[in-house]
């Protein structure tokens, strides 16, 4: 209840903030103070609500439906904290929390820079208010009580002390299919409990728990990162709108750049943390599956990165001669970054992707769907509306021609390539709305050439000078990088024998970017270190791309059966399954596989267990990580069979099977003379005619089935000379198929110890480490750049 009051107050204060800032912008003298106080009330209320939810989770207050749905009492503290954002309501609250905190910094930042504050904070408050509307008690509040709508709670989660309550019997339901029993928690029951002095959090003593896939360190920090990035994308939106409102387009670039840089750094890192989680947990062996939910956060990132490059051109040209280039591009890109964040939210949370994505949230209902659409349209209308409104002015004042051989044009073209990539991902991701889906190839084949162009432009743009470059100068400066990359690519190509021409090109273009940036970075190291940012970030992206090429083009994988104690050679490794042991208090099982390569022996232990959460088999891969390659082992199944040498096979009419040195042919069924018994359900006998061939001899034997009152009974047949006994396991005369088991007469009494077989998918992923290293280096570059630009923004 109190949590909902906090959220409602925050919402009211948010609306008041927008109004007060608007009046301040309109010239009222005394409203700024109110606006600030009101904003702080919003911030404090959201923080208080977050603290309250966290407290409810940590103290297991299952009277809140959200806490019941996503957490449980047996989770360690770290994971308990992460259940805060395991569902829609909590993750909206987390987004709001980061938004208000960032807003406090933004308020301070804008108040020190001219007349920015009212305009920027007004727009920014609209985006916070949007989140608070989504969080209100009628839509998606995490503070709604479990009894507000009738909810079925598993009997296991109820305090057994109260199960004998006579009044409770009317609320018990059973599901014969799963043999589960539920208590329906509703207003009526709540009233009854209240009358009996039973507190609800004492009545429900266990929650549904957290999806085991999310019980992972990376999943604890991935959502906070992502939402910080989302929150920061509304900052660049606010700056762009503020510029349009005032019809003044010079200063906002400098002021917004550090925000855009930081936001995109955090968002990019957040996205790739998700990739790292997928690689380490999901077991399909990759880090990016082009899943709609992954994609929908990638699209705004690509647009944001494009905006950084064109914003840099505008800043440079203003510093140089006061001409502002790419003004329209910058406004549109900054607006689109946030609009696409909202669109991404709509896709993943409206239920519209339902079947298309593994991770999309469950259907939240029509109201939420409608509100998300309203907001999406609102933010598009505000942004695009203002641009159209100012279009004439913008075209008159900011139209320039760029030379072909200029850094400006190269940066612009690079941004266009990024935008093209974003459009492709957006189209593929939105396809399910129209009942279509695209295959993974769609993304791969389209993004590959774009990545090649981006790599080349990445190198070229740095060799090209601002405004104009002589063509002979261009060759002189790029000679070293060009030839080195050519040589490197040729070497890699020769050794790997990869046959995909596009991958070779991408390899070349990433190497080119790497050499150009490396060369410049080295020469700067002694000079202005704070100028290193871009070069470091570009080296990061080049390393990342090289890693993508290596893993995408050169990975090998194979499914193998590992019999306990038996060595298996695969990809130059020697694998031995050595047995399994229970871990985590017997909840899971680790299957140990020792891996020998040369003289080093290491052990990986993939895990399998039945999760109580969803009652199904969960598999966790284990990885032998290395700089040059990873050895990835994903468990598939484990069988303990009393391995007999008696194979079972299904045979169709006329099919042959060889057992030891006997060739067995299934000739035909021997049907009863009188078919009437078979037709009328009486007793009958069907034989299976088998032709044996061994040592040049031929023999016919006939195992058969007879119907009895207890169902069908099967009789084996044997041949002493062929040392063979054949059992029928099953037959289907209408399909003309029979399932037989063969055994040897002389070895019948051999005791064979059970065989333990672990089936795994093992793969070698060359240089996947470069993917992660690349991301880290890129983030480092962003940090340097953001630092430098924040220093410049004060001027």
């Amino acid at each position: 209840m109190i949590g909902n009051i906090f959220l409602t107050l925050a919402l009211l204060a948010g609306v008041f903030t927008i109004l007060m800032y608007y009046l301040t912008y309109k010239g009222f003298q005394n409203t700024l103070g109110y606006a600030r106080i009101s904003y702080h009330i919003t911030a404090v209320m959201v923080m208080a609500a977050s603290a309250l939810l966290l407290h409810a989770i940590l103290t297991h207050q299952y009277q809140y439906k959200y806490v019941y749905d996503y957490s449980s009492s047996d989770l360690p503290t770290g994971l308990l904290i992460s259940t805060f954002y395991a569902g829609q309501e909590g993750s909206f609250l987390l987004w709001a929390l980061f938004s208000v905190i960032i807003g406090l910094i933004l308020l301070d930042y804008t108040s020190k820079r001219g007349d920015l504050e009212p305009r920027v904070m007004m727009v920014y408050s609209i985006s916070i208010t949007f989140l608070l509307i989504m969080l209100n008690p009628l839509l998606k509040s995490p503070f709604n009580y479990i009894w507000a709508e009738p909810t079925f709670v598993d009997m296991k989660h109820i305090n057994t002390a109260y199960l004998t309550l006579p009044a409770l019997q009317n609320f018990i339901f059973s599901d014969p299919q799963s043999n589960k029993h539920f208590i329906q928690i509703s207003k009526e029951l709540y009233t009854i409990l209240l009358a009996n002095n039973i507190a609800l959090d004492n009545f429900i003593i266990q929650g549904k728990g957290l999806n085991p896939l999310l019980q992972n360190f990376w999943m604890q920090i991935h959502p906070p990162m992502l939402f910080t990035g989302f929150a920061m994308s509304s900052v660049s939106y606010a700056f762009a709108i503020a510029a349009l409102i005032k019809n003044e387009y010079k200063d906002w670039i400098k002021q917004a750049l550090p925000w855009v840089l930081t936001g995109m750094m955090v968002l990019g890192l957040g996205i790739m943390l998700g990739g790292y989680w997928a690689y380490g947990v999901l077991g399909w062996g990759g880090y990016w599956g082009w899943d709609p939910v992954e994609n929908s956060s990638l699209v705004p990132w690509l647009i944001g990165i494009a905006s950084i490059h064109t914003m840099l051109v505008q800043k440079k040209s203003q510093d140089r001669d006061g001409s502002s280039r790419f003004v329209k591009t910058n406004l549109i890109l900054c607006i689109m970054t946030y609009v696409l964040v909202v669109y991404s939210t709509f896709l993943t949370r409206s239920g519209i992707l339902g079947d298309a994505s593994v991770h999309s949230f469950v259907d939240p209902g029509m109201t939420v769907y409608l509100f998300l659409i309203i907001f999406l349209v609102l933010f598009i209308l505000i942004g695009i509306g203002l641009i159209i409104y100012r279009w004439k002015y913008l075209t008159q004042h900011f139209t320039f021609e760029e030379n072909v051989l200029s850094r400006e044009l190269a940066l612009f073209t690079g941004s266009v390539a990024l935008i093209a990539s974003a459009v492709i991902v957006l189209v593929g991701t939105s396809a399910p709305i129209f009942g279509q889906t695209v295959e993974v190839e769609f993304y791969n084949e389209l993004n590959l050439p774009i990545a090649i162009i981006i790599g080349l432009l990445n190198g070229l743009s740095l060799i090209l000078k601002w405004k104009f470059t002589e063509s002979n100068q261009l060759w002189k400066n790029s000679r070293f990088a060009f030839i080195s990359s050519l040589v490197l690519t040729a070497i890699i190509f020769a050794f790997s024998g990869v046959n995909n021409f596009m991958l070779v090109l991408l390899n070349f273009s990433s190497a080119f970017a790497l050499f150009v940036n490396g060369e410049i970075a080295l020469s700067i190291l002694r000079g202005k270190r704070k100028h290193l940012g871009a070069y470091v970030a570009h080296m990061g992206i080049s390393l990342f791309l090289v890693g993508v090429v290596a893993t995408g083009g050169y990975s090998k994988h194979q499914q193998v059966d590992l019999v306990k104690g038996e060595k298996v050679n695969l990809f130059g490794y020697e694998l031995t399954f050595t047995g399994y042991q229970p871990i985590e208090g017997g909840k899971k099982y680790a299957f140990n596989v020792s891996i020998k390569k040369g003289n080093s022996i290491k052990t990986v232990a993939p895990v399998m267990y039945i999760a109580e959460f969803n009652n199904s088999l969960m598999r966790e891969p284990d990885i032998l990580e290395g700089i040059t390659k990873d050895f990835y082992v994903a468990p598939i199944s484990y069988d303990e069979t009393n391995a007999t040498t008696n194979p079972s096979v299904k045979l169709k009419k006329g099919e042959k099977y060889s057992y030891k040195n006997v060739e067995v042919t299934f000739e035909n069924f021997v049907l009863p003379e009188d078919m009437s018994a078979m037709m009328s359900g009486g007793k009958f006998k069907i034989g299976v005619n088998l032709k044996l061939k061994y040592n040049g001899k031929t023999e016919i034997i006939e195992p058969y089935m007879e119907t009895t009152n207890e169902g069908p009974k099967f009789y084996p047949a044997e041949s002493k000379e062929a040392d063979l006994k054949v059992f029928i396991n099953n037959m289907n005369a209408s399909d003309g198929m029979v399932e037989l088991t063969f055994s040897s007469l002389s070895h019948n009494n051999e005791q064979i110890p059970p065989k333990e077989v672990l089936t795994v998918e093992a793969s070698v992923k060359p240089f996947i480490s470069l993917v992660w290293i690349g991301v880290v280096v890129m983030v480092l570059g962003f940090v340097i750049s953001a630092y430098r630009r924040s220093k410049e923004s004060l001027v």
Partner: protein
């Protein structure tokens, strides 16, 4: 101005064309009517529910997983998938299989199971009725 449009425009036009072409090549439609799935013979994403009564089969030797699904109109078809049983298959409420129908069975290349958290409530409601 002109150069901007030439370079930017070229990229956009080329990739838009390429994208539309690839979209028509790789797009796969959702289909919840198995009669259409069986007739079309094209790659589709068929959505239905797993027929629990007929259980599923897993051929350990060849790693072939097969089961039956039915659509809303009660049409039933057999699905054959070369690979392992997806996690949480048993608790799935609906199944999306990607592939095409040939030789009397639906040859799946991908299986997606949906296990809404509302499952328990639905189950319980069924129990009431």
């Amino acid at each position: 101005m002109k150069n901007k449009y030439i370079f930017g425009g070229a990229i956009i036009v080329i990739f838009l064309g390429f994208m539309i072409y690839l979209f028509t090549q790789t797009n796969v439609q959702y289909e919840n009517n198995f009669v259409k799935v069986i007739q079309s013979g094209k790659t589709v994403k068929a959505t239905g529910t797993w027929l629990r009564e007929r259980n599923y089969e897993y051929d350990n030797q060849n790693k072939i997983f097969s089961f039956y699904i039915k659509d809303d109109n009660g049409n039933i078809m057999k699905v054959v998938y070369h690979g392992m049983i997806p996690n949480n298959f048993e608790s799935s409420t609906s199944v999306v299989v990607t592939g095409k129908y040939s030789n009397g069975v639906f040859q799946a290349t991908d299986i997606l199971t949906k296990c809404p958290s509302k499952y328990q409530e639905q189950a319980a409601q069924k129990a009431r009725s």
